[in-house]
Amino acid sequence: MEENKPIVTVEAYSYKDFKNGFGVANDPYNVGEVVTNQSRRKAFIECPFVIDENFVMLILARVDGVAAGRIMAFPTLFKAGEEILHSNGGSSLLVVEKYRRYDIAIELLTHTANKNRTFAGFGADFSQDGINVNKALRRTIFTMDKMMLARNSRFVFENAGLKGGILKAATGIANVFLRPLTYLLDYRTPKRLRQYTVKEVDVVPEWVDDVVLNDGHKYMEVHDHRWLQWCRDNMFNPKPKCANHFYTVEKDGRPMGFFMTTERYEGIESRNISPMLTGSVVEWGSKDEKVLSEFDLVRLAVPTFRKDIDMIQFVTDDKDTIKKAKQHCFIQHGVHYITFRDMTKRFKEAKDQRLWRLRFGYSDSIMN
């Protein structure tokens, strides 16, 4: 007996729908939690780059009427030389396991709901499966090295398979040796950097726009003060000890740069590593990188994290920064991916990573 072919349908929900609020019917797998999750809904409504209330923010796929998958989008800006173009960032792709054989992901990833409103697309923070999908879609993929500084050795031993009392003992002994390093990095700022004042602020100042937009790179996702404020003020899943912070760096009262950090729980299920409180430097900018470099800003960021943080990380594609980081006991531990899609097909040079201002905090990474 031939199996009845399932009926796959797609629904699109706009910014206007999000503002008015809506529920997702026939949703036994909670695909629509992105709508009912108040933090996520707030984040999407507060997006500073919405110019058209009909911008589609949620594509929902159904199989025989049951909510089976979703993808979200939010407006961003793409700077290409002197042009600034409306683009979109992708977020929260999900397909319920039992429906994956119906190629729902194809429907979600190739939707054209915002085709006439956006000229480029961005994505970030992908798993290997996500990257394979982006490769199949011929999107430009940028890679940056993830650099990590351990503050708590627990995850190293968990990765090696230790559990229970042995894990606790090994961690306790190893952490004794980590403490002097932690002390040096937290309390012994190099003399050259002591001339700078680092201040956490609640309102992102407008002067950062000049630092971001004129940093010498031809292409970037625009992270101006509005975007940075939006990311600072929102988290998709707020939890205790999790936070976003924005800091200015000044010298003699003059702004010299900034950095932004997040504190989140991150675990690696495949390696039995339980969630660690991870501090990340997700954005940074300097008025003059010859004077205040990327690693200088990371170095200034290290003491700003909570004292009970387990790990500090940042990403970079700059060889000099990697070298300096390793000299300060950071180790390379994976790769961060950022994807880009040029819908205009005009920007052939945009495949060259060297022309891009890239940061850990691209697309929805900071709010995630």
Partner: protein, 76 residues
């Protein structure tokens, strides 16, 4: 836009299937190597080579490569 070129471009999306096995009459979804990833790469290929947008529904509703070719041709 020639059918034979379309078939050749289609065949290039497969890594393990011999190109000689792929013809206009091939029921592509029955090929062993066929997967969602290859479907996505076909969609991307059509967009890049022919500047035509096709979606999952177009792939679902096509049995042979020639069926899909006709869809793409109709949108050029």
């Amino acid at each position: 836009m020639e059918l034979k070129d379309f078939v050749a471009n289609f065949a290039e999306q497969f890594e393990e299937t011999d190109a000689s096995e792929i013809t206009a009459a091939t029921e592509f979804k029955k090929l062993d190597e066929w997967s969602s990833l290859i479907a996505l790469s076909v969609i991307a290929m059509v967009d890049e080579e022919y500047e035509v947008t096709i979606k999952g529904e177009d792939i679902r509703n096509s049995s042979t490569i020639e069926d899909l070719y006709k869809v793409v041709l109709s949108r050029k």
